[in-house]
């Protein structure tokens, strides 16, 4: 346990200051106040962006309405997907094939596209077998960059609307997210990763003769670069099927630690940005305290149970050995456990098999995926957090006898409708998915435990799709037409439904004037608010999902006893 505590403390002491700086950086670079004095860095980036804006005929200062913003983002997403679709469909005809010669089926292509453009990166395909070098190393990163940038843009637009009373320009936000956040940070990280031993080459594979005199090929690629965007963009798609468990993707304990830092930085930074824009850093700190304490609680509990090991096996062997199943020894129990617990919170990348963890991790995972605000996916998680702040403020306002306000702006019918859509989208999609799957493809075994676990897997699969997370319990043999199509639809609706609701929510707030602070305003940057926020966030998830959490992972946990 000492290792776990040290790991978590070190993780936070490195992540928080870096996130603080990046949060400040984002708050300055994405506040499109006209007439502000630009710093040297901003001028430098402007020089890079000007030609892009000119070529694409974009006026970055033009403020968009909610409809314009959403349609711009949505349509640009669709155009990129269209290009990607052609490249994937004709990947056998196109150059840079590498060692792969595989015709992708239509449902799988749709799943890959839906999964990547929605920043979910759920992987039903096996990159090494199914994708050519062009697809794997060019198309995938393209989608990963674009979807992550769209996510950041959505989050920033919604927040800008609620805090700064303007929505901004979708194209400018997406391009700036790439040039100012994703590109530079990915570049720095990939250099560090390459330095720490990840291969970074365009050579498809290394051939060698083994000791038994057999010729073997080891697949390589631009892994360090790929890894950077996978983690920074909260994507989670890797160029290898085994994701961050692969020795090339995650060679040492140190890289494992750094990968975790990378996953957490941007979501935490965005919450700092909220504070900078509100000119009230205390607000950020209160929210972060709540979110991080949930995170730390999950980290420590999962580590505790993994270190304790599997009670059945320990009983038989009369030893107490930790639960090593599905974990990489070089990453250790703690490194794997914390990564495993973080998977469902932020990114879909994993370094161990979640399916072989103590089922508690599934309970936490399903809770996180349903809640979506404990950091959550790039940009969107921020809006879900704001959404829970909105609910908290709504109830506090009612209890105090005032029209509720969020950051000084009145919460009225329109905002409640939009935030209800955000809240209902996830259960609607997940439950419909569960119902259809259980009716169409029930598990055929006779074992009660298998039934329960199958249900957990289905639940997790849909929850991870609907939360744009992308992690999975695997074991579903999900590369078939039903799974590919159903999840492609779920991910698509979940992402763009939420995106529309978020942008319109931001726009709705942007059109309101902020009310002045008075003695009777309840301040949202107090500890009391933090507690109510935690309660609201917890209760609104638990009330809807508790029966299914009980029927799935809870039964599994109780069976372990």
């Amino acid at each position: 346990m000492l290792e776990a505590f040290l790991f978590i403390i070190l993780l936070l002491t490195i992540t928080l200051p870096v996130s603080y700086l990046i949060g400040k950086y984002i708050s300055i670079h994405f506040d499109n106040e006209k007439n502000k004095r630009l710093s040297k860095i901003e001028l430098f980036f402007e020089k890079i962006e000007q030609p892009i804006f000119k070529v694409c005929n974009i006026d970055p200062d033009k403020q968009m309405s909610g409809k314009e913003y959403f349609l711009s983002l949505f349509l640009s997403n669709m155009v990129i997907s269209g290009i990607a679709f052609l490249c994937l469909y004709f990947q056998n005809v196109l150059p840079f094939k590498g060692n792969v010669n595989y015709q992708l089926e239509l449902p799988l292509i749709l799943h890959i596209l839906s999964s990547l453009i929605t920043n979910t990166c759920q992987t039903h395909h096996i990159p090494e077998l199914h994708l050519t070098h062009l697809s794997n190393y060019f198309i995938m990163p393209l989608l990963m960059f674009y979807s992550s940038a769209s996510g950041i843009a959505t989050g920033l637009a919604a927040m800008r609307g609620a805090v700064l009373s303007k929505l901004g320009n979708a194209y400018a936000d997406v391009i700036k997210s790439m040039t100012r956040i994703l590109m530079p940070f990915s570049l720095i990280t990939s250099i560090i990763f390459a330095g720490l031993g990840m291969p970074n080459t365009f050579k498809p594979s290394i051939e060698y003769t083994s000791l038994e005199n057999v010729k073997q090929k080891i697949i390589t690629g631009p892994i360090a670069a790929f890894e950077a965007i996978k983690l920074f963009g909260e994507n989670g798609l890797s160029c290898f099927n085994s994701n961050s468990a692969h020795p090339f993707e995650n060679p040492t304990y140190l890289t494992n630690f750094l990968e975790l830092v990378c996953i957490l930085i941007v979501p935490i930074a965005l919450i700092f940005t909220l504070g900078f824009w509100l000119k009230n850093l205390k607000q950020s700190i209160i929210i972060l305290c709540v979110l991080i304490s949930v995170l730390v609680f999950e980290f420590t509990t999962v580590s505790y149970f993994e270190l304790k090991g599997n009670p059945f096996i320990n009983k038989i062997t009369e030893q107490s050995s930790p639960n090593w199943i599905g974990k990489e020894t070089r990453l250790g129990i703690v490194g794997s456990s914390i990564f495993g617990a973080a998977v469902s919170n932020v990114s879909g990348s994993s370094n161990s098999s979640l399916d072989s963890f103590y089922p508690l991790v599934n309970l936490f995972g399903l809770f996180n995926l349903s809640n979506q605000s404990i950091f959550g996916v790039q940009g969107f998680g921020l809006v879900f957090t704001i959404n829970f702040i909105l609910y908290t403020a709504f109830f506090i306002g009612l209890m105090l006898g005032k029209t509720p306000e969020l950051f000084g702006k009145k919460i009225e019918k329109n905002e409640i409708i939009l935030s209800s859509i955000l809240l209902l989208l996830n259960p609607a999609l997940v439950f419909i998915g569960i119902i259809t799957t259980l009716i169409l493809y029930p598990d055929n075994s006779n074992n009660f435990y298998n039934h329960v676990h199958y249900f957990t897997r289905i639940f997790y699969e849909f929850a991870s799709g609907a939360a744009s997370n992308g992690s999975g319990l695997e074991g579903l043999s999900d590369n078939n037409t039903y799974w590919n199509l159903s999840l492609a639809i779920v991910m698509f609706i979940a992402r763009y439904g939420a995106m529309a609701a978020m942008i319109f929510l931001g726009y709705s707030f942007a059109n309101k004037s902020s009310l002045p602070l008075t003695v009777i305003t309840f301040r949202t940057d107090t500890i009391l608010f933090g507690f109510i926020f935690l309660f609201m966030s917890f209760i609104s998830t638990i009330l809807i999902y508790i029966p299914f959490l009980a029927l799935g992972p809870l039964i599994e946990i109780l069976m372990y006893r």
């Binding site: 009225e412 119902i435 039934h451 009330l543």
Partner: protein, 682 residues
């Protein structure tokens, strides 16, 4: 059924027992599915009720069940009671308000009135046949049928039916304040010709009654957003209840349809869903009890949000007129001389200022015989700006504006004492108006005229500050006067020399900054500002134009009632919020009570925290609790929770502890207790 009984002529009392009777009948009438579908929560309960009735007749329609018909019938009855209880709460609130309105309406009902035709003849018509701009004649003993404006005649009117005050009011044409009459009041003496100013059915009382009666059209903004949230949560729980049987079926665990219906009923926010309308209606009822007519349903909620209050000075903060407070002698003249001169000067002056001068002189002990005051009075004109009297004994007395008197005396070659200017200025600095008195060709003294701030107003403004509201006085007076009054009345800010258009511009400017602005006024010149403000509170003594522009009318013409309005507005919202919190925290406990009955798995035994006697007993207890909590909470909904002006954090914490924590614990005790009884019966 008459909800009110006439005790004396014209005085009605609300009859509670008939209200309860009528409410009981109404609540059964409200079971009509078309009436229920306006409230989504009750609609869901009613759908479940229909399902349960089907299950009571044919228990096996959704598959084999272990439950008997009797249990299904019991559950149907509990559901029926749940709906009836919420209907009853609503009917009670509505009928009570209606009764109050009725007592006003009886006197305001369809009576015969005398319409004056263009040729001067009089015809008898019914009130309902009157149109705007018709002229009617009302005589001693008649009710004034409809709001209007006096165009001829002078009469004393009993407005007690509306204001509750017994003193009569004099109505006469031509003045802002006393020329407007309200429907439902009665003429005690003489007669009036009244021009109808409002359309039939749009009188203030009618507006108020329609807000009380027509529930659906008058939802308030916050109620709409809360309703939206309640619908969203109902949808999510519907999804949950639809998914559970699929998963259970797949896991081959038997699940009773009845239990699922029970779970749904327990999860959807029935308590707040049933009480949301009564809460609003009783809020309006409380405001009507204060003798304030609410013209729009939004006004009450907005009142809770006010940040700023603009007040008209005259008639609102101060008494309508300036009063003399001090005589100051000049040079060799004694105070007595000055007071006497002032008395004589003002004897024929009928203005309130003149009367106040005489009153002050009497307080100085001056009492003059009428015989001493013989002469030719000179009235005040805008040109001379002075008034006075030329006495028979040759003395010429004048009082007036300081510069006018000075000029007058100097022109006559008279004498102005050296310190005059200094004293004049002193009075002006104190916010007063100096008048000079001259005798023949000499200025002999000063009169200090002053605005008198209404008593107790200062404390009330302090209270406003505690409520987070900034008070701003608008006046046409000069800066100095405004400043003094502001200080005396404890007002935060003032705007001097304000023209009507300045007031609108200011209000608009503040609204664009997100402020919620209230305006209190009574004159026609206030009307545009009253219409522009989020809340316009007009005094009943005010002009028709002012009242029409406002959304609240105070029948007692007491501006400080705004504080009560704000408190009632906040109370309305807070009650709704508290009961919503209660309703939601209840869910957790009800989940804990019901889930073990549905998940009959030995692995999930750990969830069975409450250890109720049996599954059936658990479901019945939870449902029963769910039903009886509605009538238990109805008094809170109708009376409102207490709202004190404390720190917001303190209020919040208190409400969370009472309604949040209470909502969590109460069901545990309640359900366990009901189960204790039921378990024995089953």
């Amino acid at each position: 059924m008459a909800l009110i009984t006439e005790q004396k002529k014209g005085i009605f009392k609300i009859d509670f027992s008939s209200i309860v009777q009528k409410s009981l009948i109404d609540s059964i009438k409200l079971l009509n599915p078309f009436a229920v579908c306006k409230n989504p929560i009750l609609f869901v309960i009613e759908c479940c009720l229909i399902l349960m009735i089907i299950l009571s007749i044919k228990p096996n329609i959704f598959g084999e069940t272990a439950l008997t018909k009797e249990i299904n019938i019991a559950i149907s009855l509990i559901l029926l009671l749940t709906i009836l209880f919420s209907n009853l709460a609503e009917s009670l609130a509505r009928n009570y308000t209606k009764a109050q309105a009725d007592s006003l309406r009886i006197v305001h009902g369809d009576i015969e009135v005398k319409r004056v035709l263009e040729n001067g003849l009089i015809e008898y018509v019914f009130t309902s046949q009157l149109n705007k701009n018709d002229i009617i004649k009302v005589q001693e003993g008649d009710f004034i049928p409809i709001d209007g404006e006096v165009i001829e005649g002078v009469a004393s009117v009993d407005e007690s039916a509306i204001t509750g005050e017994s003193s009569t009011v004099l109505k006469e044409p031509g003045t802002d304040i006393s020329s407007s009459v309200t429907g439902g009041t009665r003429i005690l003496t003489d007669w009036l010709l009244i021009k109808i100013t409002s359309e039939q059915g749009k009188t203030y009382l009618d507006q108020m009654i329609s807000i009380a009666e027509d529930v659906e059209r008058h939802k308030t903004p916050n109620e709409i957003s809360l309703n939206t949230l309640l619908i969203a949560s109902t949808i999510s729980f519907l999804l949950v209840v639809i998914t559970i049987p699929v998963v259970m079926n797949y896991l081959s665990i038997k699940v009773e349809t009845t239990f699922l219906i029970a779970l749904l009923i327990c999860l959807i926010p029935t308590t707040i869903g049933g009480l949301i309308t009564p809460i609003r209606i009783s809020g309006f009822d409380r405001i009507n009890k204060l003798n304030i007519l609410a013209m729009s349903e939004k006004s009450l909620e907005i009142a809770g949000d006010l940040n700023m209050l603009y007040l008209d000075k005259t008639g609102t903060i101060t008494f309508g007129n300036r009063m003399a407070t001090e005589f100051i002698p000049l040079g060799t003249h004694s105070l007595n001389d000055v007071a006497k001169a002032a008395y004589i000067c003002s004897y024929y002056d009928q203005t309130p200022e003149g009367k106040s001068i005489i009153a002050l002189a009497r307080r100085y002990g001056i009492e003059l015989d009428i015989k001493e005051i013989k002469g030719i009075p000179h009235e005040f004109t805008a040109h001379t700006r002075m008034s006075g009297i030329d006495l028979e004994n040759g003395d010429i007395l004048r009082k007036g504006a300081s510069d006018a008197i000075k000029k007058y005396v100097l022109n006559k070659g008279g004498k102005v004492w050296q310190n005059t200017d200094q004293l004049v200025e002193n009075i002006a600095i104190q916010g007063g108006t100096p008048l000079l008195i001259s005798k023949n060709n000499e200025v002999i003294g000063l009169i200090h005229l002053k605005d008198i701030v209404k008593a107790s107003i200062k404390d009330r403004f302090k209270e406003l500050r505690n409520l987070g509201i900034k008070t701003i006085m608008c006046t046409g007076d000069n800066n100095l006067t405004a400043k003094v009054i502001t200080r005396e009345a404890g007002i935060d800010e003032y705007i001097a020399q304000a023209k009507p258009q300045d007031k609108i511009a200011l209000i608009r400017d503040n609204q664009s900054k997100g402020m919620m602005v209230a305006m209190i006024g009574d004159g026609t010149n206030d009307a545009p500002a009253l219409a522009q403000a989020d809340i316009g509170l007009a005094m009943n003594t005010g002009t028709v134009a002012a009242k029409e522009a406002s959304n609240l009318i105070d029948l007692d013409s007491n501006p400080t009632k705004i504080i009560d309005i704000i408190k009632i507005g906040r109370q309305l919202l807070a009650t709704r919020g508290a009961l919503t919190t209660f309703s939601i925290t209840n869910d957790i406990s009800k989940y804990i009570a019901i889930l073990p009955s549905i998940f009959t798995l030995k692995e999930l035994n750990i969830l069975n925290i409450m250890h109720l006697q049996s599954s059936t007993s658990a479901v019945l207890s939870a449902l029963t609790f769910n039903a009886i909590i509605i009538p238990l909470m109805t008094p809170i909904a109708l009376n409102g929770i207490s709202v004190k002006d404390q720190e917001p954090g303190v209020i919040l914490l208190r409400n969370i502890v009472i309604f949040g924590l209470g909502g969590l614990i109460l069901p545990f005790i309640g359900i366990k207790a009901i189960d204790f009884v039921l378990g024995r019966l089953l």
